[in-house]
Amino acid sequence: MHVLLVEDEPDLAEPIARLLEREGHQVSAVRSVTDARELESGSIEIVLLDVMLPEGEDAGFAFARELREAGYAGKLLFLTARDTARDRLRALELGADGFLLKPFSLRDVLARVREFASP
């Protein structure tokens, strides 16, 4: 499956990308919303999205809305250090399929992606 990973921390993005690639997924890892917009998003089926990105504190939420409005109907998983009820609610409103709170483990990410990928 084609996975889009938007995470500005290379120390986090790199092992996640490597893990998913070993699982057989095609991973497009970018560090900002600007970079994500430049990608051809037609084939993307899973989006792993940080909330605080270089474009702003809520850039992840804004990008999720943008994706949904553009017709993206695939899976959406937020990876974030923000743990307030308001943040979780906002993620749900944007049709998120999951919310992984940092510090998460690689196994957590893997489990969620496997779940998304299963028919």
Binding site: E9, D11, L19, R82, K102
Partner: protein, 429 residues
Amino acid sequence: MSFRLKLFAAIAVAVLITAVLEGGLDRAYDHWHDRLEARTLVDLQLFTDTAVAALDLDGGVVGLDATELEALPRLRGERLRIVRDGATVLTFGGLFPSSSEGWALTARYLRDGYRLDVALPLSLLERVLGNDLLLDLLDLPLLFALAFGVAWAFTRIVMRPIRELTQALRQVSEQEFPKPVPVPEGEDELSELARSFNTMSASMQGLIERERAFTRYASHELRTPLSALKVHTEALELGLATTEATVPVLERNVQRMEGVLVALLALTRPADVDSVPATLDQVVQEIVSAVPLPGRERLTYVHRASVPLHVANAHLVRQAVANLVENALKYSDGRVTLIVEPASRTALVRVCDQGGGIPTDRLERMRKPFTRGDHPTPGLGLGLALAENAVESLGGRIDYLHRDDGFEVAVTLPTAGNHQPTLNDASKS
């Protein structure tokens, strides 16, 4: 009016009211007593005169025309007797009372040795009014009750602000911060107490909110490096990475966590104002030489003072300027120029870069990360807040200037001898 004066006035009014009531009751008693006594005397006199007129003592036989007595308008059971030589020769109205208890008595001496005794029954009111002791016993509890009521009412009015304060204090002790208590008018002990309470409550609320914001911020700032540690350790376990590649990542993130922790602790502690004086040039030279390569190659230091500029606390100046230099190198490309120059009774340290600077909305939150009620802005770093804290402790200020060729942060520092005391100083003393 002061609280003491209000209390005094309340007690004085209660006593005054009691005294006035007591005086009033006494006057009313005297008045009624006099009126009843006068009426009794008039009735007695009238009955006696009528009886004398109705008597017939001629011819050695005593006669009485009772119709005249019975025609009297206000008869109330009067009795009479005619006595001669100790013997009763005639009675009217019933047995003549043997004592004066409950009766008003009078005697009239007539011709031929006859004596007319008249007895008039006293009403209950007349009897009561005739007994001063009984009256005092009756009016005393009444006056006590009145005095108590007046004192109670006044105390409630005077004590209302204290009740409000007590309630507010209870809320504070349960960490539920009340609205400011109403400050009584005037400049007395109570209004001063209410004002002090409101200040204390607001300051405690600020402290607790700051503490909560700090906890939220700390937890957020530590989550990302912790996540990196966790993920890389797992990657090693899963054979996704080599030890050689993982160790530098772990070191970097441990350092990052340490940096966050040190900065957070420095911000929550009162600024260290232990004076270690130095020249500004000395401090800045140290900062420049401590900047690691390759950043140092982008840094230019310009010293424009003709005389040494002395600062009172080298440590705080270093903390402030080093953070500003680090920010400039981190968030801009191109050259960073560090200029030291004298200003009017102060010294100026200017950190100029060629970047776009910090947007105004972010700047405010970066300067004071824990002073706002809303969420702090994690991920922006604490360098600016640390610099602000240090410069404020020194009695200086930081200005932020967007220029055509870049961004400038100007630190104005009092030179030694011009140090303005601040709250942080006060808290240390």
